[in-house]
Symmetry: D2
Subunit: 146 residues, 4 copies
């Protein structure tokens, strides 16, 4: 896929760095390519559900972000991205030491971008969640839903 200019990675990293919740949970941007973004997360025992596995809310948050930033790489400069909606299937308990979320653009339009994503356990390669998401481009100066 083709990014609109060479600054897509700067735009993505600049936005990601302002997401304080990503810092709170220890997520990091590990890959930013046109139409594809990866986010890494280490296991921490303050991020777990009742059985000691990574909480589904954390799993969903990192793959939602990966999808959103994958969409942003293909959007015009001056544009921000918002999640319209997503759907996530949780396939297996998030059991492991390190997790990687991938987001990929399936279709990039002027307004709407559709992405798919997944989360896997780094040690085993096992996929623990899959996502299908809809993103919208908004003017970066007026970064609200219409």
């Amino acid at each position: 896929m083709q990014a609109p200019d060479g600054d897509y990675e700067t735009r993505v990293r600049s936005s990601f760095d302002k997401q304080r919740f990503m810092t709170t949970i220890g997520a990091t941007l590990s890959r930013v390519q046109p139409g594809e973004v990866a986010i890494d997360l280490e296991y921490r025992d303050d991020l777990v559900q009742q059985h000691g596995f990574l909480h589904a809310g954390v799993v969903a948050a990192i793959v939602d972000s990966a999808c959103g930033y994958a969409a942003l790489t293909l959007m015009r400069p001056g544009t921000a991205v918002l999640t319209v909606e997503y759907k996530v299937n949780l396939l297996a308990p998030a059991q492991g030491q390190a997790f990687r979320a991938h987001g990929r653009v399936v279709r990039s339009g002027r307004t709407i971008t559709v992405c798919t994503g997944d989360v896997s356990v780094v040690e085993t390669g096992s996929t623990i969640a899959v996502m299908q998401a809809t993103m919208i481009a908004v003017d970066a100066r007026d970064d609200r839903r219409d």
Copy 2:
């Protein structure tokens, strides 16, 4: 709706209290009724996205939990609940001081329970997210996906 016994609230609170991620973000169980659960959350500046509003990952996490526990209130003793999948639409920026997530059972089956949920801003009553979720009952002693 009819809970299977009088201990449904104890079962829900006991599970919720073990979800360390809920404690990490400051979420609290504010209502537990048969087929309906509410979870409250105060704004905190370590839970925000790039524009200073509550992160969508946090919004989704509390309504997913509310839906899961709403399902659990109607499940038999000895049963645990897992999220199979959910879909969430984010309607407006999560701008406010206090947020409330509601989960409600739409259909309760032996294996599968379907719920709807929403998140609103307490000050304004404005709905900022809606969810439709599928939960599954599993044996509490072997609390994994099959």
Copy 3:
């Protein structure tokens, strides 16, 4: 909810009448109110799945249409509506003689409208499907996805 003018029902009926697939399956528009539309369908044995119940594809099609037209009632004249995406849970077999799909607007924006819908069996009132859908307004003269 407030329609933008008094012609919303005419716009909805005019579009519905051009959907030949709705005629093919025998669906009819039974209610058009601002932000809410109902579509009725009679059982026919050429619309069934392998156990003789109404096919899920037919169930989803009528509630998707009901949601789309509910969205259209609140859109400006000169606008057409397209389904961006929907998610449907099938709660029970579609067993009955007559079915009614309802679509309701949850949030109406300039570009994006979010709806919920359901399908019930008329004889019993039993809900057999629930939907959460995202619609987009497009210029009626250039009625494509961007």
Copy 4:
């Protein structure tokens, strides 16, 4: 992926042939492999929406069926498959003469199977819809939702 026995194609074709709605719209099973099924459909002018393109309800119906049968190929003999829920994004107008829906299993469990699917235009290879779906295995003698 590994089918449980050599009769998976027979089981799929036998069930498909009983879906009268698939016959009504002219859909045919074009590929049945363990964990993957394709369904073909020719354009017909009684299956269209208001602009003369294939109706989204038809698009969704064939990819839902492809996902369900992909799941069934991996289920034990004596089992039937039901759609718990699906989510579909419509990417572009369904404009063309021939359409192919693919369903693929992402994760196959004892009870729950998760699939992804897509629909493309045969002439151009263009993808017009993507789906993420949850299927459930039920006893074939008592083929209802629990």
